[in-house]
Symmetry: C2
Subunit: 350 residues, 2 copies
């Protein structure tokens, strides 16, 4: 830490700042790395904690926070000129709150910076299981993990033998949904955007089949190839044309859990979905959800998933960018599908 | 019946025939009135019944049956050159089936003709309560009534005090959904396509508010006017632009039951729906349904609705066309919204 000392008890605090609201495709240059300083002792009267951020999570929903607060969103927009915020794994350096002590490891909302002062502690989880990689708390053991769990088990109500389709299947959430579905005895197909990802789906995550959507001129035909008898469950991560093609291929009483629509986030005007009449003819249920409504299931989820990880029955692939400076590139890469697996940032460049 | 005798124990049987598959907007000239003849005694070996049709129901879903069997549909297409079929109220004239006797009144699938031989009797209901208008069994006491009941109570899971929006609100189903919602203590707004219908919604069916969608240049603004705090429940009968505007105005954890999409049935390519991201941000559930899945609730539904009708707490408005010959005009009129209330045909022109 010596090299970071800036005098007066303060240390250097590198930060990722959003320059201005973004429309269209986000670029690295929409963000800026600045250096501020931070006092490693919280002032008297504070009720918060000071943390050193270890890992920061790059998540598609952050695109909505980069936009002017106009479009419907469930989260506040970032403040241009201020450090961005997101999910991360952090170590408590100082605490003025009775529930947290120096040395505690936590995951939850923090800043895109080296050190953060966190005042609202309600949605911060203390990390109890440290015998798994800490970075997993940005993914399989954190928000994306619980998202996959709630979206698949709670919303899709899967049954053994059903057919399951997952889009963005090698991503932070998709890779887990596919593995949960296989554990349940379902037939599972995933779509992704490169040969490398498609190979990963089949060889590493155990999907029955997988395809590269970029190489399919006709998504409807692709789905018919893999689901000649139709799709019982669709785990929706992308929206737009894929949703349209899926609707045509759903089976009677199918369920669609809508987790994300990443293909739409950079469009000023979202694509139209034309095949909604299938909802009636096939009695389909579509349900959007947010992980925040399922935080009460977190302990139950960990009880299920940790043994599976330790026994090697569930695996997790991460794409780790090193150093806070790599944050903008890593985040922007989500929208071109550059990452393979869960994208995160190790704040320490080493 | 004397005038109908054609000799050899046979009587005249006027029929409505679909000439050929329809694309685009259906026209009266897509159908044809012909005269055939029918034997009033069923042949030995038959296991069916012969009925005299009293009332025939005009329902939007029939548009799908007029199309070439290409688009996804839950019902078979009509046979060009043959009499159309649909829901109706009929009297049993002859029976070779032990469950039905001469003189029984029934509702269910029958032909668009004066007399029909019905061989598949599974979805035919014997009418037990004859102290209400028999025509009601094409509407409030028949398929549309059970549709409104299942779609509202089972799919929407309404709670007292919630806000409810119904499109095509003066139609066969919509007028009931609005009244059910009022009985439950909800705030209810309906949309319809004429001043007369809007007046009916407020004066006759007790909707809190109603508007003529044809006079609203901006459906989003119209919905914001009537639902400043958003919509908890949308009972969807129309699809397209209205669904898009509703999605923007739904509240958190809102429910949409999709009963029909009449605005889309005459389009070769359905309109795109753009605002589906709201499903996620507001955790909305959309569910399509078909009444056929809820036939087991029919007795329970009658137990609820018949006393309400007798006490005047639920009313029903019918638009009755007289004579089988008026069938094509009445059916086509559904798609321009010519009918006020439930459209049906009294087969006897008197």
């Amino acid at each position: 830490m010596a090299g970071n000392v800036v005098g007066g008890g303060k240390v250097r605090n590198k930060q990722v700042i959003l320059k201005d609201y973004v429309s269209g495709f986000p670029k690295e240059s929409d963000m800026l790395i600045t250096t501020s300083s931070v006092d490693l002792k919280l002032p008297e009267g504070s009720n918060g904690i000071l943390v050193k951020n270890l890992y920061l999570s790059c998540d598609p929903y952050m695109r909505n926070r980069m936009a002017k607060p106009l479009r419907p969103s469930y989260v506040d927009s970032f403040q241009p000129g201020s450090p961005m915020t997101g999910f991360g794994v952090s170590e408590v350096i100082d605490s003025r709150n009775q529930n947290f002590s120096k040395g505690d490891l936590v995951w939850g909302r923090t800043g895109w910076e080296e050190y953060s002062v966190i005042d609202s502690l309600e949605s911060l989880f203390k990390i109890q299981h440290t015998d798994l990689p800490l970075s997993y708390y940005t993914g399989i053991l954190g928000m994306p993990g619980l998202t996959a769990y709630a979206g698949f088990y709670e919303i899709c109500a899967p049954k053994k033998g059903e057919t399951v389709f997952v889009s963005a299947a090698s991503g932070a959430v998709g890779q887990l949904v596919g593995q949960f579905a296989k554990l349940m005895g379902c037939y599972v197909v995933g779509s992704a955007g490169s040969k490398e990802k498609v190979d990963l789906l089949k060889s590493k995550f155990g999907f029955d089949e997988a395809f590269n959507y970029k190489e399919e001129a006709d998504l409807d035909a692709a789905l018919k190839r893999y689901f000649p008898d139709g799709i019982d469950i669709y785990f929706e991560n992308v929206g737009g044309k894929m949703l349209d093609a899926v609707l045509t291929n759903m089976r009677l009483h199918g369920r669609i859990s809508v987790c994300g629509m990443i293909s739409q986030y950079n469009l000023d005007h979202p694509e139209g979905v034309h095949n909604l009449f299938n909802l009636i003819s096939k009695r389909i249920r579509i349900e959007g959800f947010l992980v925040f409504d399922y935080y009460h299931l977190y302990d139950k989820f960990l009880e299920m998933v940790i043994p599976q990880i330790k026994q090697g029955k569930i695996v997790y692939v991460e794409d780790i960018a090193r150093g806070l400076e790599s944050g903008p590139e890593a985040l922007v890469g989500l929208f071109s599908g550059r990452n393979v697996g869960k994208q995160l940032i190790a704040v320490d460049p080493q």
